[in-house]
């Protein structure tokens, strides 16, 4: 295989693999930047995957080719609504954020599978007929070399993920909203004395994370698994969590980390067909993405610091 061929396989598959993780990890960034730890990302993906598939199956005749996009939007709304539970528990009821996140994960998987049984009277849904399809990006696809590698045989959602990451970066670092969001995650009391409504900002952070987590799940379901079952979301939320930390709670960092995971996965998949890697036991290729991540963390990335008030309740008047 020529290098070009290898890249043409690896890059689109990296982009696809990373897309759901990017969205979800960005969700994590919003939540944790506001000071609410969110290990419920996995659960939010469950909800997003479930709603997008159910909506897609139900309304495919109404919306035609727009179905996957409308479904994704619905998944976003569902994720946002579901995340309110986490917000209420961890902000208003002062639940330990991690406990509440664990509850979110349990509840999401239980509830969605229960609903699948309730709606379809079986354990998993049918395959959707209209999911996200492979595309060539118009114009860009004709750029020599890069066009072929980056903009052919890929998915709109992959690029959407990257664009959303950039927007998230802009929002978090360039707008008053972002400044306030970060201040609430770093020093809620300071924010409070500046007249910022800490509770409101934190609710928003969590709800945005729910929306993005919902999108992440929806993207996975509609671009990859094509149906919803107990196995659809299995650990992607935790990988997104890892990507968020890996990316140091920075939107672009999280995106980079998700792309890194995707890249490592793709390498390990193509590895078995590269001549010099053919002879080694396949297990080494299987674990390679995870080992690479640990090495990257140890070697180059090093210490990552969470927002100072991440996971800390803000109780007015306490010190």
């Amino acid at each position: 295989m020529s290098l070009m061929q290898v890249l043409m396989i690896i890059i689109p598959s990296t982009l696809l693999w990373a897309a759901p993780l990017v969205f979800t990890a960005l969700g994590g960034v919003f939540s944790e930047r506001s000071g609410v730890v969110n290990i419920g990302l996995e659960g939010l993906m469950w909800v997003g995957a479930f709603t997008s598939i159910v909506f897609n199956l139900t309304f495919v005749h109404t919306f035609g080719d727009a179905t996957p996009w409308v479904s994704l939007f619905v998944a976003m709304i569902a994720g946002a609504i579901f995340s309110i539970l986490h917000a209420v528990a961890s902000i208003t009821f002062r639940a330990d954020h991690t406990v509440s996140g664990v509850a979110i994960n349990l509840l999401a998987s239980g509830l969605t599978l229960f609903l699948v049984k309730f709606i379809y009277n079986k354990g998993e849904t049918d395959i959707i007929q209209k999911g996200f399809n492979k595309i060539d990006i118009p114009v860009l696809k004709d750029i020599p070399f890069f066009g072929k590698v980056f903009f052919q045989n890929t998915y709109w959602v992959s690029y959407l993920a990257i664009i959303v990451a950039i927007i998230a970066w802009y929002i978090i670092y360039k707008t008053p909203f972002g400044l306030r969001l970060r201040s609430v995650g770093e020093h809620p009391m300071a924010a409070d004395t500046m007249g910022i409504n800490v509770t409101k900002m934190r609710y928003l952070g969590v709800i945005i994370s729910g929306a993005l987590g919902g999108i992440g799940g929806g993207v996975y379901a509609e671009a990859i698994s094509s149906n919803f079952s107990h196995a659809t979301i299995s650990g992607q939320g935790f990988m997104a969590l890892a990507a968020m930390i890996f990316g140091k709670w920075h939107p672009l960092g999280a995106m980079g980390a998700a792309l890194f995971f995707g890249f490592a996965q793709s390498i390990s998949i193509i590895g078995s067909s590269l001549p010099f890697l053919k002879t080694i036991p396949s297990v080494y290729l299987l674990v390679a993405p995870y080992v690479l991540t640990i090495l990257a963390l140890t070697g180059f990335i090093g210490r990552a610091e969470a927002p100072k008030a991440d996971g800390v309740h803000y109780i007015k008047g306490s010190r």
Partner: protein, 347 residues
Amino acid sequence: ACGKATDNTKNNTTGGNKGNTFSVGMVTDVGGIDDKSFNQSAWKGLQEFGKDNNMQKGKGGYDYLQSQSDADYATNLNTLSRQGFSLVYGIGFMMQNDVDKIAKQQPKSHFAIIDAEVKEPNVASVLFKENEGSFLAGIAAGMTTKSNKIGFIGGMESAVIERFEAGFVAGVKAANPNATVDIQYAASFTDAAKGQAIASRMYSSGDDVIFAAAGATGNGLFKEARDRKSKNPDQAIWAIGVDSDQSPEGVVTAGGKQTNVVITSSMKRVDNAVKDLSTKAKNGNFPGGKTTTYGLAEDGVGLAPINPDITNKADIEKAVSDWSGKIKSGSLKVPATRAELKTFSAK
């Protein structure tokens, strides 16, 4: 509630088929009864058996229990047998050990195990010659490919999947000696993303027919095939399904018209086996202690209808039926392992 439940079990621990009502239950693994694979197929067989015999779903009729983890197999098997089901199936080789233990503990109850062997007088073992079905799939693949490059995606490496692999490769070689088979395992039965990535790699490197024997990981293959087809309707790329007829997963609108990327599926007729075995048990011919192997001849494996979009559909059907004849008659022995494949020559 406590007392009542205890009574229930006390009455029923003797189990077995003493009354004249025959009832049958099965325990699935985590996949559940619509895993598009052998659980689904088994449940289909049980339902048909129930319908044929005017049975009701539920206790005293036919029913299933789904396991949430490996640890639940034993509990579920026990529950069904304690609830008085005359025959209890364990679906999948993972339940071998539990069926074995429970059969020993409850010698009067009848059990059956799919895809594994348990040597107990009250257990019927059911095996399949997956290699025979996938041999035919290999024939179809070998006759469809234009690039002479074919892909095989395995789930996790196991004896069952190895039978699929060996049979498939043998079929390809038999139909098209110039074709090569590119084999890759995903190390998972549940990872659609990985399935898709592998399929993408295979199609990109020129494979035009891919067979996935990988459970839900295979979903990724169909997704990739549909995507490529809808993007580029002229491209001749194909997929082959496994266990049940997976043609619904290949439906795609390409270039404005609906088409299907699934050539055929290598079917494992667990439903037939379950029906067959249940009927035997009901009629008092429970093959306890015996292993029944269902192959092509017994309708235990087979090939789903060939996709009408294939231009040489008729040729393929003819070839398939010729080869099936040879297999059924016993004149051709399809390799079941890689070792056997090495010495195999299809003449």
